[in-house]
Subunit: 269 residues, 2 copies
């Protein structure tokens, strides 16, 4: 039986709302995902919400019925509530009518199997949650083995990052590591580490990108530290025909990722 | 001589702050751009601020000195102010220390010369200002002739769109049109209209993309209306190896734009 919660002062509402802050997410090991589409992705990836919130209008929706039953039989809870409460929980002006609270995943490097994919994404000191989520979404599209976050990146479990990932946070393996630990892991097996650079003459379309290729993207404002770039096996450049010398970080990652995919498909043909 | 303004109640501060709302931008024909980098792009593109705001710490910065002199001799005004005021004007938690108020540009289709470039970007009913700005930034990078906004898109002069464009709002020609007017203009000359589609077997790497190619991107949630897609000369698909069936709109536009650039470069070689 779903519980009915409509009071802003309800302790669970306060607790879930606090998950919009990173320190509370870390303390609880929980994060928020919103919207039917993203919750359906989570279900397909075998992830059930610990708490499932939905509005009265969604009570009979097949996915809500299924998720509520599955969550409850796994020890979770289904909660019918108001759009106002969902607005308060998500912080969004036009909140989704369904919201789930999920357990965070372990994100240590040792969980990754580099032989599982020919392409991996790596991002360093990424600051914008929208960019992080968008890179996850691209990672899903190109069949990347996972996304490895280096140094102090924005939290991949933030509401904004999860939203921009369109569910890819549930389907693309995530890891977090400091640079020296990442490099040690990387060099313990086959890997070609690739980055965009302004200091190279190699066009991004030239290399064959040996499998597995790890695409390294730097911070939005600073780019990659010089010694990180020097540690790469390969640096390439994108044509820049305009006034600026850089692309949005998520855009640059996607253009590169699709080129690696094309190089791999060409080699396989 | 710069004016010193530090009171939140100053009428100019209230007026500039109101430019964060679209109706005030339209009524005044003005918009806000922030940050040294973006204001430098504007200057290089021949655009001077009508009002230039900067903090005391920036008083002696070469660009600020030059912009202030140029703005004043063109009838504009330089205003020294506080970081608190800049925070209020930009709505940003960590405001830039320099902010300019600019006249909006005319955005009618007739200003565009299709022979000026081999690649043009077109976006329909785009909702997210970050996506719009990011597409402008990509348009600059690929040397697109311009960005044409179809139907009800988010305002390209919004603070968020200008910010995401990283100055490309000043360097990439912009036009706005309803679909029938765009189509009439498009068909009055040479043009290949291209869109991504889930209902085609043509890989995005196959076509030669005759010049000028117009890349059409649809709304983030709905994609393109079926009749808009049917009006295209060419529909292509991107490999989608994951669970989802779409990419972020700005990401998809960029992957396509770089492929068109590669096809054109290959044909020219």
């Amino acid at each position: 039986m779903p519980r009915l919660v409509t009071a802003f002062s309800n302790p669970l509402i306060k607790r879930v709302r606090s998950l919009r802050e990173k320190r509370h997410r870390r303390a609880e090991g929980l994060f928020i995902a919103e919207g039917l589409r993203i919750l359906a992705e989570a279900e397909q990836a075998g992830r059930l919400p610990l708490y499932l919130f939905y509005t009265e209008a969604m009570r009979g929706h097949p996915l809500v019925v299924r998720l509520a039953a599955a969550a409850e039989s796994a020890g979770g809870e289904a909660i019918e509530t108001s759009l106002d409460i969902l607005h308060k929980l998500s912080g969004k002006d036009n909140p989704q009518t369904v919201l789930g609270v999920y357990a965070e995943f372990a994100t240590d490097l040792s969980r990754l199997d580099r032989s599982a994919a020919g392409l991996w994404l790596v991002a360093q000191a990424l600051r914008d949650p929208g960019n992080l989520g968008t890179i996850l979404r691209t990672g899903d599209a190109v069949g990347a083995g996972g996304l490895i976050l280096i140094d102090d990146c924005v939290d991949p479990f933030s509401v904004e990052a999860v939203r921009a990932s369109m569910g890819a946070v549930f389907t693309v393996p995530l890891a977090q590591a400091r640079w020296p630990d990442f490099l040690a892991w990387l060099r313990a097996g086959p890997a070609t580490l690739v980055a965009l650079s302004l200091r190279t003459d190699t066009d991004y379309r030239a290399p064959a990108y040996p499998r597995p290729t790890f695409l390294l993207t730097g911070n939005e404002a600073q780019g990659l530290p010089a010694d990180y770039e020097a540690a790469c096996d390969l640096t390439v450049k994108l044509p820049m025909r305009g006034k600026a010398d850089s692309l949005n970080a998520a855009v640059a990652t996607a253009v590169m990722a699709y080129q690696v995919l094309a190089a791999h498909d060409g080699a396989a043909a």
